[in-house]
Amino acid sequence: MRTRRAVILGLGGTAGALAFTLGLGWWKSRNSAQPGAGLLPLPVADMSFNLSNHRGNPVQPADWIGRPTMVFFGFTWCPDVCPTTLSDISDWLADLGPEADRLNVALISVDPERDTPTVLAEYLSNFDRRIVGLTGQLPEVEKAAAGFRAKFEKLPRDGDYTMNHTAGVFLFHADGRFASIIDFHEDRRFALPKIRRILT
Protein backbone atom coordinates (compact mmCIF):
# COMPACT_ATOMS: atom_id res chain seq x y z
CA MET A 1 0.00 0.00 0.00
CA ARG A 2 2.81 2.32 0.93
CA THR A 3 4.52 1.60 -2.36
CA ARG A 4 1.37 2.35 -4.25
CA ARG A 5 1.04 5.68 -2.49
CA ALA A 6 4.60 6.52 -3.48
CA VAL A 7 3.81 5.59 -7.04
CA ILE A 8 0.72 7.73 -7.00
CA LEU A 9 2.68 10.68 -5.62
CA GLY A 10 5.35 10.11 -8.25
CA LEU A 11 2.75 10.26 -10.96
CA GLY A 12 1.12 13.21 -9.24
CA GLY A 13 2.56 15.86 -11.51
CA THR A 14 1.33 14.39 -14.74
CA ALA A 15 -1.88 12.96 -13.33
CA GLY A 16 -2.60 16.22 -11.55
CA ALA A 17 -2.18 18.28 -14.67
CA LEU A 18 -4.30 15.82 -16.61
CA ALA A 19 -6.98 15.69 -13.93
CA PHE A 20 -7.02 19.47 -13.80
CA THR A 21 -7.46 19.67 -17.56
CA LEU A 22 -10.13 16.99 -17.51
CA GLY A 23 -11.80 18.72 -14.57
CA LEU A 24 -11.85 22.02 -16.40
CA GLY A 25 -13.21 20.31 -19.48
CA TRP A 26 -15.88 18.68 -17.39
CA TRP A 27 -16.98 21.92 -15.76
CA LYS A 28 -17.06 23.68 -19.11
CA SER A 29 -18.91 20.88 -20.85
CA ARG A 30 -21.52 20.85 -18.09
CA ASN A 31 -22.70 24.16 -19.42
CA SER A 32 -22.37 23.55 -23.12
CA ALA A 33 -22.43 19.91 -24.19
CA GLN A 34 -25.13 18.67 -21.85
CA PRO A 35 -28.31 20.68 -21.97
CA GLY A 36 -30.11 20.35 -18.68
CA ALA A 37 -27.01 19.17 -16.88
CA GLY A 38 -25.31 22.54 -16.62
CA LEU A 39 -26.48 23.00 -13.06
CA LEU A 40 -24.84 22.52 -9.70
CA PRO A 41 -26.20 19.94 -7.27
CA LEU A 42 -29.10 21.27 -5.22
CA PRO A 43 -28.55 22.15 -1.58
CA VAL A 44 -29.39 19.08 0.50
CA ALA A 45 -32.36 20.94 2.00
CA ASP A 46 -33.93 21.27 -1.47
CA MET A 47 -33.48 17.60 -2.37
CA SER A 48 -36.29 15.11 -2.10
CA PHE A 49 -36.00 11.33 -1.82
CA ASN A 50 -36.96 8.45 0.43
CA LEU A 51 -34.33 5.73 0.56
CA SER A 52 -33.36 2.98 2.95
CA ASN A 53 -29.91 2.56 4.47
CA HIS A 54 -28.07 -0.77 4.60
CA ARG A 55 -29.44 -1.36 8.10
CA GLY A 56 -32.97 -1.09 6.73
CA ASN A 57 -33.72 2.35 8.21
CA PRO A 58 -35.37 5.11 6.16
CA VAL A 59 -33.19 8.04 5.07
CA GLN A 60 -34.30 11.41 3.77
CA PRO A 61 -32.15 14.41 2.81
CA ALA A 62 -33.33 16.33 5.90
CA ASP A 63 -31.55 13.70 8.03
CA TRP A 64 -28.21 14.97 6.69
CA ILE A 65 -28.68 18.61 7.67
CA GLY A 66 -26.47 19.64 10.56
CA ARG A 67 -23.47 17.56 9.52
CA PRO A 68 -21.21 17.83 6.49
CA THR A 69 -22.03 15.23 3.86
CA MET A 70 -20.02 13.17 1.35
CA VAL A 71 -21.92 11.15 -1.28
CA PHE A 72 -20.89 8.76 -4.03
CA PHE A 73 -23.10 6.98 -6.59
CA GLY A 74 -22.14 3.40 -7.40
CA PHE A 75 -23.22 -0.23 -7.28
CA THR A 76 -21.83 -3.41 -5.78
CA TRP A 77 -21.54 -5.32 -9.08
CA CYS A 78 -19.07 -2.67 -10.26
CA PRO A 79 -15.58 -4.21 -10.59
CA ASP A 80 -13.32 -1.17 -10.90
CA VAL A 81 -14.59 2.33 -10.15
CA CYS A 82 -16.68 1.55 -7.06
CA PRO A 83 -14.23 -0.53 -5.00
CA THR A 84 -11.52 1.97 -5.98
CA THR A 85 -13.57 4.95 -4.82
CA LEU A 86 -14.74 3.18 -1.66
CA SER A 87 -11.10 2.30 -0.88
CA ASP A 88 -10.14 5.93 -1.41
CA ILE A 89 -12.98 7.14 0.81
CA SER A 90 -11.99 4.59 3.47
CA ASP A 91 -8.40 5.87 3.35
CA TRP A 92 -9.55 9.49 3.63
CA LEU A 93 -11.76 8.68 6.61
CA ALA A 94 -8.88 6.82 8.25
CA ASP A 95 -6.57 9.80 7.63
CA LEU A 96 -9.13 12.20 9.12
CA GLY A 97 -9.56 9.91 12.13
CA PRO A 98 -12.28 10.69 14.70
CA GLU A 99 -12.89 14.05 13.00
CA ALA A 100 -14.56 12.10 10.19
CA ASP A 101 -17.17 10.80 12.65
CA ARG A 102 -18.94 14.13 12.10
CA LEU A 103 -19.50 13.37 8.41
CA ASN A 104 -22.48 11.78 6.75
CA VAL A 105 -20.87 9.42 4.25
CA ALA A 106 -23.18 7.68 1.79
CA LEU A 107 -22.96 5.36 -1.19
CA ILE A 108 -26.22 5.67 -3.15
CA SER A 109 -26.76 2.54 -5.24
CA VAL A 110 -27.72 3.14 -8.86
CA ASP A 111 -28.59 -0.57 -9.08
CA PRO A 112 -31.39 -0.97 -6.51
CA GLU A 113 -32.56 -4.06 -8.42
CA ARG A 114 -29.58 -6.06 -7.12
CA ASP A 115 -28.39 -3.87 -4.25
CA THR A 116 -30.82 -4.61 -1.44
CA PRO A 117 -29.97 -3.31 2.05
CA THR A 118 -28.60 -6.77 2.94
CA VAL A 119 -26.38 -6.88 -0.16
CA LEU A 120 -25.10 -3.37 0.58
CA ALA A 121 -24.40 -4.30 4.20
CA GLU A 122 -22.27 -7.29 3.20
CA TYR A 123 -20.41 -5.30 0.56
CA LEU A 124 -19.73 -2.29 2.78
CA SER A 125 -18.39 -4.48 5.60
CA ASN A 126 -15.20 -4.53 3.51
CA PHE A 127 -14.75 -0.76 3.80
CA ASP A 128 -14.76 1.94 6.47
CA ARG A 129 -17.76 1.31 8.72
CA ARG A 130 -18.74 4.97 8.57
CA ILE A 131 -19.86 4.56 4.94
CA VAL A 132 -23.63 4.11 4.77
CA GLY A 133 -25.23 2.37 1.79
CA LEU A 134 -28.52 3.72 0.45
CA THR A 135 -30.96 1.97 -1.83
CA GLY A 136 -34.68 1.95 -2.51
CA GLN A 137 -37.33 2.08 -5.20
CA LEU A 138 -35.92 3.10 -8.60
CA PRO A 139 -38.03 6.30 -8.80
CA GLU A 140 -36.60 7.38 -5.44
CA VAL A 141 -33.04 6.69 -6.61
CA GLU A 142 -33.86 8.74 -9.72
CA LYS A 143 -35.12 11.57 -7.52
CA ALA A 144 -31.90 11.43 -5.50
CA ALA A 145 -29.75 11.48 -8.64
CA ALA A 146 -31.76 14.43 -9.99
CA GLY A 147 -31.01 16.41 -6.82
CA PHE A 148 -27.29 15.80 -7.24
CA ARG A 149 -27.54 16.40 -11.03
CA ALA A 150 -26.00 12.93 -11.22
CA LYS A 151 -26.73 10.47 -14.00
CA PHE A 152 -26.91 6.74 -14.32
CA GLU A 153 -27.84 4.37 -17.08
CA LYS A 154 -28.42 0.62 -17.25
CA LEU A 155 -26.57 -1.08 -20.12
CA PRO A 156 -27.16 -4.65 -21.29
CA ARG A 157 -23.84 -6.47 -21.49
CA ASP A 158 -23.12 -10.09 -22.40
CA GLY A 159 -26.44 -11.44 -21.17
CA ASP A 160 -26.16 -9.38 -18.01
CA TYR A 161 -26.10 -5.65 -17.41
CA THR A 162 -23.82 -3.00 -16.07
CA MET A 163 -24.36 0.59 -15.03
CA ASN A 164 -22.78 3.81 -16.24
CA HIS A 165 -22.91 6.37 -13.48
CA THR A 166 -21.57 9.70 -12.26
CA ALA A 167 -18.29 8.84 -10.57
CA GLY A 168 -17.36 11.95 -8.56
CA VAL A 169 -17.65 12.28 -4.79
CA PHE A 170 -20.05 15.08 -3.81
CA LEU A 171 -19.30 17.26 -0.78
CA PHE A 172 -21.82 19.42 1.10
CA HIS A 173 -21.45 21.80 4.05
CA ALA A 174 -23.22 21.04 7.33
CA ASP A 175 -26.05 23.42 6.42
CA GLY A 176 -26.58 21.46 3.21
CA ARG A 177 -24.98 23.90 0.76
CA PHE A 178 -23.10 22.19 -2.09
CA ALA A 179 -19.34 22.56 -1.55
CA SER A 180 -17.39 20.70 -4.22
CA ILE A 181 -16.83 17.47 -6.11
CA ILE A 182 -13.81 15.19 -5.88
CA ASP A 183 -13.54 14.05 -9.48
CA PHE A 184 -12.70 10.38 -10.08
CA HIS A 185 -9.46 11.10 -11.89
CA GLU A 186 -8.54 14.10 -9.78
CA ASP A 187 -5.18 13.98 -8.02
CA ARG A 188 -6.05 12.30 -4.72
CA ARG A 189 -3.89 14.82 -2.83
CA PHE A 190 -6.63 17.39 -3.34
CA ALA A 191 -9.25 15.23 -1.70
CA LEU A 192 -8.37 15.67 1.97
CA PRO A 193 -8.21 19.50 1.83
CA LYS A 194 -11.62 19.51 0.14
CA ILE A 195 -13.07 17.30 2.86
CA ARG A 196 -11.44 19.37 5.63
CA ARG A 197 -13.10 22.46 4.14
CA ILE A 198 -16.57 21.04 4.79
CA LEU A 199 -15.55 19.95 8.30
CA THR A 200 -14.63 23.48 9.39
Partner: protein, 153 residues
Protein backbone atom coordinates in the same frame (compact mmCIF):
# COMPACT_ATOMS: atom_id res chain seq x y z
CA UNK B 1 14.24 -2.82 11.22
CA UNK B 2 11.97 -5.71 11.97
CA UNK B 3 9.77 -4.90 9.00
CA UNK B 4 12.85 -4.74 6.78
CA UNK B 5 13.90 -8.18 7.93
CA UNK B 6 10.43 -9.54 7.34
CA UNK B 7 10.36 -8.09 3.86
CA UNK B 8 13.68 -9.66 3.06
CA UNK B 9 12.92 -13.07 4.48
CA UNK B 10 9.23 -13.48 3.64
CA UNK B 11 8.59 -15.29 0.37
CA UNK B 12 7.58 -12.87 -2.36
CA UNK B 13 3.86 -12.61 -2.87
CA UNK B 14 2.49 -13.99 -6.14
CA UNK B 15 1.76 -10.50 -7.39
CA UNK B 16 5.44 -9.63 -7.15
CA UNK B 17 6.62 -12.42 -9.43
CA UNK B 18 7.93 -11.27 -12.80
CA UNK B 19 7.09 -13.27 -15.92
CA UNK B 20 8.74 -12.66 -19.27
CA UNK B 21 7.91 -13.37 -22.89
CA UNK B 22 10.23 -12.03 -25.55
CA UNK B 23 11.05 -8.42 -24.69
CA UNK B 24 8.05 -8.11 -22.41
CA UNK B 25 8.03 -8.49 -18.66
CA UNK B 26 4.76 -8.90 -16.82
CA UNK B 27 4.40 -8.25 -13.09
CA UNK B 28 2.07 -7.04 -10.33
CA UNK B 29 -0.72 -9.35 -11.44
CA UNK B 30 -3.46 -8.97 -8.86
CA UNK B 31 -7.19 -9.10 -8.38
CA UNK B 32 -9.71 -8.09 -5.77
CA UNK B 33 -11.68 -10.51 -3.62
CA UNK B 34 -15.31 -10.86 -4.66
CA UNK B 35 -18.44 -11.51 -2.66
CA UNK B 36 -19.72 -14.72 -4.22
CA UNK B 37 -19.25 -15.71 -7.86
CA UNK B 38 -22.09 -13.65 -9.38
CA UNK B 39 -20.23 -10.36 -9.44
CA UNK B 40 -17.49 -9.82 -12.00
CA UNK B 41 -13.89 -10.05 -10.82
CA UNK B 42 -11.15 -7.73 -11.90
CA UNK B 43 -7.60 -8.26 -13.18
CA UNK B 44 -4.76 -5.77 -12.94
CA UNK B 45 -1.21 -6.16 -14.22
CA UNK B 46 1.77 -4.20 -15.43
CA UNK B 47 3.58 -4.89 -18.71
CA UNK B 48 6.97 -3.45 -19.61
CA UNK B 49 8.28 -3.55 -23.15
CA UNK B 50 12.10 -3.48 -23.08
CA UNK B 51 12.32 -4.04 -26.85
CA UNK B 52 12.36 -1.73 -29.81
CA UNK B 53 9.11 -2.97 -31.37
CA UNK B 54 5.65 -1.82 -30.32
CA UNK B 55 3.39 -4.61 -29.08
CA UNK B 56 -0.16 -4.81 -27.78
CA UNK B 57 -2.16 -6.87 -25.31
CA UNK B 58 -5.00 -8.32 -27.33
CA UNK B 59 -6.62 -10.83 -25.02
CA UNK B 60 -6.75 -12.63 -21.69
CA UNK B 61 -7.87 -16.14 -20.80
CA UNK B 62 -8.29 -17.82 -17.42
CA UNK B 63 -9.93 -20.93 -15.98
CA UNK B 64 -11.24 -18.64 -13.20
CA UNK B 65 -13.89 -17.01 -15.41
CA UNK B 66 -16.11 -17.94 -18.32
CA UNK B 67 -15.83 -14.56 -20.00
CA UNK B 68 -12.62 -12.64 -19.32
CA UNK B 69 -12.43 -9.39 -21.27
CA UNK B 70 -10.26 -6.32 -21.54
CA UNK B 71 -12.02 -3.12 -20.52
CA UNK B 72 -11.17 0.48 -19.96
CA UNK B 73 -12.79 2.73 -17.40
CA UNK B 74 -13.54 6.01 -19.12
CA UNK B 75 -14.94 9.06 -17.37
CA UNK B 76 -16.77 11.42 -19.73
CA UNK B 77 -18.53 14.49 -18.36
CA UNK B 78 -18.13 12.98 -14.90
CA UNK B 79 -19.85 9.74 -15.91
CA UNK B 80 -17.90 6.48 -15.67
CA UNK B 81 -18.37 3.77 -18.28
CA UNK B 82 -16.39 0.64 -19.13
CA UNK B 83 -16.10 0.10 -22.88
CA UNK B 84 -14.36 -3.02 -24.22
CA UNK B 85 -10.70 -2.49 -25.07
CA UNK B 86 -9.96 -4.42 -28.24
CA UNK B 87 -6.23 -3.93 -27.86
CA UNK B 88 -4.09 -2.25 -25.21
CA UNK B 89 -0.91 -0.74 -26.72
CA UNK B 90 2.43 -1.68 -25.14
CA UNK B 91 4.80 0.70 -26.96
CA UNK B 92 8.51 -0.06 -27.26
CA UNK B 93 10.47 1.07 -24.22
CA UNK B 94 7.38 1.78 -22.15
CA UNK B 95 5.34 0.32 -19.31
CA UNK B 96 1.58 -0.04 -19.41
CA UNK B 97 -0.53 -0.57 -16.35
CA UNK B 98 -3.85 -2.23 -16.05
CA UNK B 99 -4.72 -0.46 -12.80
CA UNK B 100 -7.74 0.80 -10.84
CA UNK B 101 -9.58 3.50 -12.76
CA UNK B 102 -8.08 2.69 -16.16
CA UNK B 103 -7.50 -0.40 -18.26
CA UNK B 104 -8.46 -3.62 -16.50
CA UNK B 105 -9.43 -7.19 -17.16
CA UNK B 106 -13.07 -7.86 -16.31
CA UNK B 107 -13.68 -11.45 -15.25
CA UNK B 108 -17.32 -12.15 -15.95
CA UNK B 109 -18.81 -15.54 -15.10
CA UNK B 110 -16.45 -16.43 -12.26
CA UNK B 111 -16.05 -20.17 -11.73
CA UNK B 112 -15.89 -19.55 -8.00
CA UNK B 113 -15.72 -16.61 -5.62
CA UNK B 114 -12.28 -15.03 -5.38
CA UNK B 115 -11.05 -15.06 -1.81
CA UNK B 116 -8.22 -12.99 -0.42
CA UNK B 117 -5.03 -15.06 -0.50
CA UNK B 118 -6.15 -17.21 -3.46
CA UNK B 119 -4.25 -17.16 -6.71
CA UNK B 120 -5.27 -18.14 -10.23
CA UNK B 121 -3.56 -18.21 -13.64
CA UNK B 122 -4.26 -15.73 -16.42
CA UNK B 123 -2.82 -16.15 -19.91
CA UNK B 124 -2.10 -12.89 -21.66
CA UNK B 125 -1.92 -12.84 -25.44
CA UNK B 126 0.24 -10.21 -27.09
CA UNK B 127 0.04 -9.32 -30.75
CA UNK B 128 3.72 -10.01 -31.38
CA UNK B 129 5.32 -11.61 -28.31
CA UNK B 130 2.66 -14.31 -28.09
CA UNK B 131 1.34 -15.83 -24.88
CA UNK B 132 2.49 -15.78 -21.28
CA UNK B 133 0.74 -17.20 -18.23
CA UNK B 134 1.01 -15.37 -14.92
CA UNK B 135 -0.14 -16.12 -11.38
CA UNK B 136 -2.68 -13.60 -10.15
CA UNK B 137 -2.82 -12.88 -6.44
CA UNK B 138 -6.22 -12.13 -4.93
CA UNK B 139 -5.96 -9.18 -2.54
CA UNK B 140 -8.74 -7.77 -0.35
CA UNK B 141 -11.73 -5.98 -1.90
CA UNK B 142 -10.26 -2.82 -0.43
CA UNK B 143 -6.76 -3.28 -1.87
CA UNK B 144 -5.29 -0.69 -4.19
CA UNK B 145 -2.39 -2.80 -5.39
CA UNK B 146 0.29 -5.23 -4.27
CA UNK B 147 3.12 -4.10 -2.02
CA UNK B 148 6.22 -5.30 -3.86
CA UNK B 149 9.68 -4.37 -2.70
CA UNK B 150 10.97 -3.95 -6.22
CA UNK B 151 8.02 -1.82 -7.27
CA UNK B 152 10.04 1.32 -7.75
CA UNK B 153 8.46 2.27 -11.05
Amino acid sequence: MLSTLLTLTAPAAFACEIFTVGDLSVEHAWSRATIGADRPGVFYVEVTNAGTTDDALIGIATPAAGMPMLHETVVTNGIASMPHAMSIPVPAGQSVKLAPGGYHGMLTGLTTALNEGDSFPVTLTFEKAGEVTVNVEVLSLRAEGPDCEHAGQ
